[in-house]
Symmetry: C2
Subunit: 370 residues, 2 copies
């Protein structure tokens, strides 16, 4: 099995990282969970939420994910029944809390894209929070200004502008409704006895971690190495050669297929995103507070977040286009938007391939330079 | 001024390429024009046309473009009045003949793209000439098969499949009509007294080229060099840094703007395409039959052809979406198709940037290797 070799500080004389590091990490995350929960209750939870309330929910999800992931990676060192009963409950908490945020950021992503695609001014006023110009092509030169309109094209101009505006309004209606529902569900969940049971378990965890005695292994590193290997295997199964070839047109290949949501080709990438997360958490356990930020992992994770977000935004545009009795101009705008987001999916895969291979390229160059 | 230095065979002791080379080239192209015209008349000209008739029209356009371009580049060596009266007439001939072909290949491109985007089976039978899978991502792995449909999604599936099929049928109807009209116009043009006057002039050119006497310059190479410089200047004005950055999202930036056809950002690229052509023809004059194929120019020209074709196909999809009373599903499919072709535009710019910079990269590597 591979061992962690990123940081020499973990190479104690024996070279081992013991279960105490695991217990310390879990206690710290449990404490963080309780702190965030208290903050969330204090800051109130109106629809939309205050900035502190949103931040508290984010911190809750963050620690819930870390506890859940750590229970998974280091399960042999932990009481099995306890770990297996807590993990799905933590996943339920973080999943329930994530949905409201996901709908909000999906709407913002889609309205930002509509702005970019429209030039300007075609989006309803409610979306003023979105930047006026897409951030995707940062540093790219702005396109030349459009030519003066043909007098005869005025009606058509109006028609298409209305299309983009109507598409924006439709998405705003649908995703705001979904967000409001997700908010209610989250509030309901946080007040449920099911959640109180989870909070009680996490409170116990903050004081005592149920380690297996005697410990079946005395070193955490092989278990962390196994998590890294699962990640490496999943990455190796990705179509990285295609992804690294720009404009391969793979992501839109089922753009008009009958069942566009979710694209089955996206699933292996979503899986890698989750495995990358588990690997990162395992590194945190091993390296503790002195964890150096691995910029490559960070960039790879961001590319996969963007992949997931664009994939879901594309599906939302396709879904909105199925709304009965919409105008053709609205449907056209949603089609352009869907394709745009599917190309974002492709761009994210390309970005992931680039940063994932970066170290290898450097190694290759070093070899050639010899 | 830059001089031609691609081929040492032109470096006669004096180094000069004389007006005789120009006269020889023009006579040869005029002869080719007349041969193609005879062939076109012999092979008939029914709508759609036989293979020979299509090939004859292509040869006619090819020689008309070469004569016209050569008159432009080497104008100081030629009788001004004669050259300035013949050039627009040749442009009219090649433009008129090109339209039928353009509509046919635009329809094929769009139906091929719809096939690719739909998985399969959503395109009407008439389009069986188009390949079932897009050729854009040659060598890319096929996407995974779609999941089984949800029972409740059957109506929606049908709806979207119909959308792609209806979009294909609409494009087929509109572009076939345009093609038929272009065919009639071409036939009418070829039978007109205007065309007979052009043919008479070309027939004279095949026997005698009206060179200026005495020749104002004794070497063609500075004039050819000026054509190359005009190309280099136009390329230098292109946003090549953006184009070389994959997924820059520039091409779709006005995808929903009110006046999508033609995209003003495409114009400088179309201009470079024409200047590249003039440069290629000037090289043919200088290098004669022993012209070595410059693979870089060839690839750059193909990228710009693809750019032009995708740009016009995207405009045709946008135009079709403005047809009154189309179904929302049809409009949605046309929106996806429009965005897909705008990404083809972006991909073509990337391809052009890559092959244009190739020599520079090689030079850079050679310098580093020293």
């Amino acid at each position: 099995m591979a061992t962690q070799h990123h940081d020499p500080t973990t190479d104690s004389p024996a070279g081992a990282v013991t279960a105490q590091a695991l217990a310390g990490y879990l206690r710290a995350q449990a404490t963080e969970f309780l702190r965030a929960l208290r903050l969330h209750r204090e800051t109130g939870a109106g629809a939309g939420g205050s900035e502190e309330s949103v931040e508290a929910a984010r911190a809750l999800r963050r620690s819930a994910r870390r506890i859940s992931g750590t229970l998974h990676t280091f399960q042999p060192l932990l009481d099995t029944d306890w770990a297996e009963s807590l993990r799905p409950e933590l996943a339920w908490v973080s999943g329930t809390l994530a949905r409201e945020h996901a709908y909000a950021s999906r709407l913002e992503r889609l309205l930002t894209a509509l702005h970019r695609l429209s030039g300007s001014g075609a989006i309803p006023a409610q979306s003023s929070g979105a930047p006026a110009v897409g951030s995707r092509a940062a540093g790219a030169a702005p396109g030349p200004a459009g030519p003066p309109a043909h007098p005869t094209a005025t009606a058509e101009r109006g028609n298409l502008t209305v299309g983009a505006a109507k598409a924006g309004a439709l998405l705003e209606r649908q995703l705001t409704l979904a967000r409001t529902r997700a908010h209610s569900s989250a509030l309901q969940a946080l007040g449920s006895s099911r959640f109180h049971a989870v909070a009680d378990k996490v409170a116990l965890l903050a004081s005592e971690v149920p380690l297996t005695r005697p410990a079946p292994v005395t070193d955490l590193r092989p278990l962390a190495g196994a998590a890294e290997e699962r990640l490496a295997d999943a990455v190796a199964a990705l179509p990285l050669i295609t992804a690294g070839s720009p404009y391969n047109a793979e992501a839109l290949i089922h753009g008009l297929s009958p069942d566009p949501a979710p694209h089955p080709q996206d699933a292996p990438w979503h899986q890698v995103r989750l495995l990358l997360r588990l690997h990162r958490y395992a590194r945190e356990v091993l390296l503790g507070d002195e964890e150096p930020v691995d910029l490559r992992l960070l960039a790879a994770g961001q590319a996969l977040d963007r992949h997931r977000d664009a994939s879901e935004a594309a599906a939302a545009a396709a879904q909105a286009a199925r709304t009965p009795r919409i105008a053709p101009a609205t449907a056209y705008a949603l089609g352009v938007l869907h394709a745009d987001q599917r190309h974002e999916v492709e761009a994210a895969r390309y970005a992931f391939q680039r940063c994932w291979q970066k170290d290898r390229h450097k190694e290759g160059e070093a070899v050639r330079a010899r």
